[in-house]
């Protein structure tokens, strides 16, 4: 069974890059630039792992995480030097992220599945 990921970032280029880079038959990725749509998707089709950008136009990834199912592991991706978060994220990746750090995490989840 494929691993389902949700990626939220207000940068469209980063969304398409993430999908292009990590999508495969075994990894299905849905990307969103609008936090509300991402929250709705997670609520109706819970993924295995969620990637959230920290600085979004009107909210932070922290605020978005609080509105999503707490049981789903979440990774924060941020261009900030040291993002201050209240939410307990599984991991925090800085921008620019490296392919290997994201690949290794996806592989870890694929193996678990």
């Amino acid at each position: 069974m494929a691993l389902n990921l949700v990626y939220l970032d207000d940068e469209e280029d980063l969304c398409s890059l993430f999908a292009e880079m990590f999508s495969s038959d075994e990894v299905k990725i849905k990307t969103f630039v609008d936090p509300e749509l991402a929250i709705q998707e997670v609520s109706s089709n819970p993924p295995d792992l969620i990637f959230l950008d920290f600085r979004l136009p009107k909210v932070t990834g922290d605020m978005v995480a609080l509105k999503m199912n707490n049981a789903i592991p979440k990774v924060l991706i941020s261009g900030d030097i040291s993002p201050i978060t209240e939410y307990k994220f599984l991991k925090i990746f800085g921008k620019p992220w490296t392919v290997s750090e994201v690949e290794n995490l996806i592989l870890e989840f694929k193996n678990k599945k």
């Binding site: 940068e11 890059l17 880079m21 921008k95």
Partner: protein, 354 residues
């Protein structure tokens, strides 16, 4: 008299236009390092004692007073082989005869080197304090700037990593290259803005500039800070007037005002900043209004004093608004907090360029 002139480093002279007779006081000889017991220099000899670049201006000013009798006051330099600048201030006026022709010129010449050096020092200190405040603003903005650079950097590095995977797909390669170029352009814009903003004000002289353009630059500089605090910034302009200014300094003023506005409202529920540019007669008005509820009178009184701050310890130097006011004073412009506004509004008025 000689003693008084010696103390004041001031010499006096007179010139009878008809006879050509020139008289110098003892102190004037001393200013030009001449022995007062010798002959008084002729006009031509005196010109040769002046700094080469100032000679033409000196001669034309004297010719003008002989012709029109209009008094003068100007600064010039003495030629000095010891390579130290000796600054002099000349004041001269004319006495006319019954027919209205200039008959006698007389005036003073004062060694003002100490004054000029003090003025230069003050100018340098002022430029230094503006630059320090600017670096403080950059420091405050650095966290936001890092975010603004890291995003396009992620696009560049991600697409560079993607390229080997899509080598056989020209359409995807083209998309990749376009994304890299677009992201590189964003970084270039940020870095250029920082470079321009970091220049010392000495590197930019007074010139005719579009205030609309300067406001845009200031908005770009503060964009990351504004976004970071989820502040909605709007800008309206009814014209695009030019003003004579040092554009780097005026940008610094606007960056200070926007940055202060963000700090003042960042904890409010309603967060907005409106910038307006319009003209009233020969004046150009810039208003920076935020969603705050005004500034109490007792605070407004001290607002432009150095080191006065309402920010928490460690959050502000208190130099921002005093430097803002200092820069505007130098431009003959004014700044005030509008008392009759329901929100917090700083208004700048500056003369429109002809």
């Amino acid at each position: 008299m000689d003693e008084a002139q010696k103390i004041a480093k001031i010499g006096s002279w007179s010139f009878d236009v008809k006879s050509g007779k020139i008289d110098w006081s003892k102190q004037l000889f001393s200013i030009f390092s001449l022995d007062y017991r010798g002959n008084t220099p002729t006009f031509e000899e005196h010109i040769n004692q002046l700094y080469f670049d100032d000679r033409k201006m000196f001669v034309s000013t004297v010719q003008k007073i002989i012709q029109d009798g209009i008094p003068y006051r100007f600064r010039y330099r003495k030629s000095d082989f010891e390579k130290t600048n000796v600054w002099l201030e000349a004041i001269g006026s004319a006495i006319k005869d019954v027919e209205g022709n200039v008959s006698v010129l007389h005036g003073t010449c004062q060694d003002i080197t100490d004054l000029v050096e003090a003025e230069e020092k003050t100018k340098m200190e002022r430029a230094k304090s503006i630059h320090t405040a600017k670096l403080a603003s950059l420091g405050e903005m650095s966290a936001g700037v890092a975010h603004e650079i890291n995003n396009p950097l992620a696009i560049i590095s991600g697409n560079a990593a993607l390229l080997p995977k899509i080598i056989g797909n020209p359409e995807k390669i083209e998309n990749c290259i376009n994304a890299i170029q677009k992201a590189s352009g964003r970084i270039v814009k940020i870095v250029n803005g920082l470079r321009k903003f970091s220049r010392t004000s000495e590197q930019s002289e007074l010139s005719k500039n579009s205030l609309h353009h300067i406001i845009h630059e200031a908005i770009n500089m503060t964009d990351s800070k504004v976004k970071r605090e989820f502040v909605v910034l709007s800008y309206e302009h009814s014209s695009e007037p030019n003003v004579i200014c040092n554009e780097i300094e005026i940008e610094q003023v606007l960056v200070n005002l926007i940055s202060n506005a963000v700090d003042a409202i960042k904890k409010n529920d309603d967060k907005w900043i409106q910038i307006k540019l319009f003209e009233i007669g020969q004046q150009v008005v810039v208003q920076v209004r935020d969603s705050g509820k005004g500034i109490p009178k007792e605070v407004a009184r001290n607002l432009f004093q150095p080191f006065f701050t309402t920010k928490a310890v460690g959050e502000g130097t208190g130099l921002g608004l005093s430097i803002t006011k200092g820069i505007l004073d130098q431009h003959g412009a004014t700044i005030e907090v509008l008392n009759n506004d329901p929100n917090t509004c700083f208004e700048i008025r500056i003369k429109k360029a002809e």
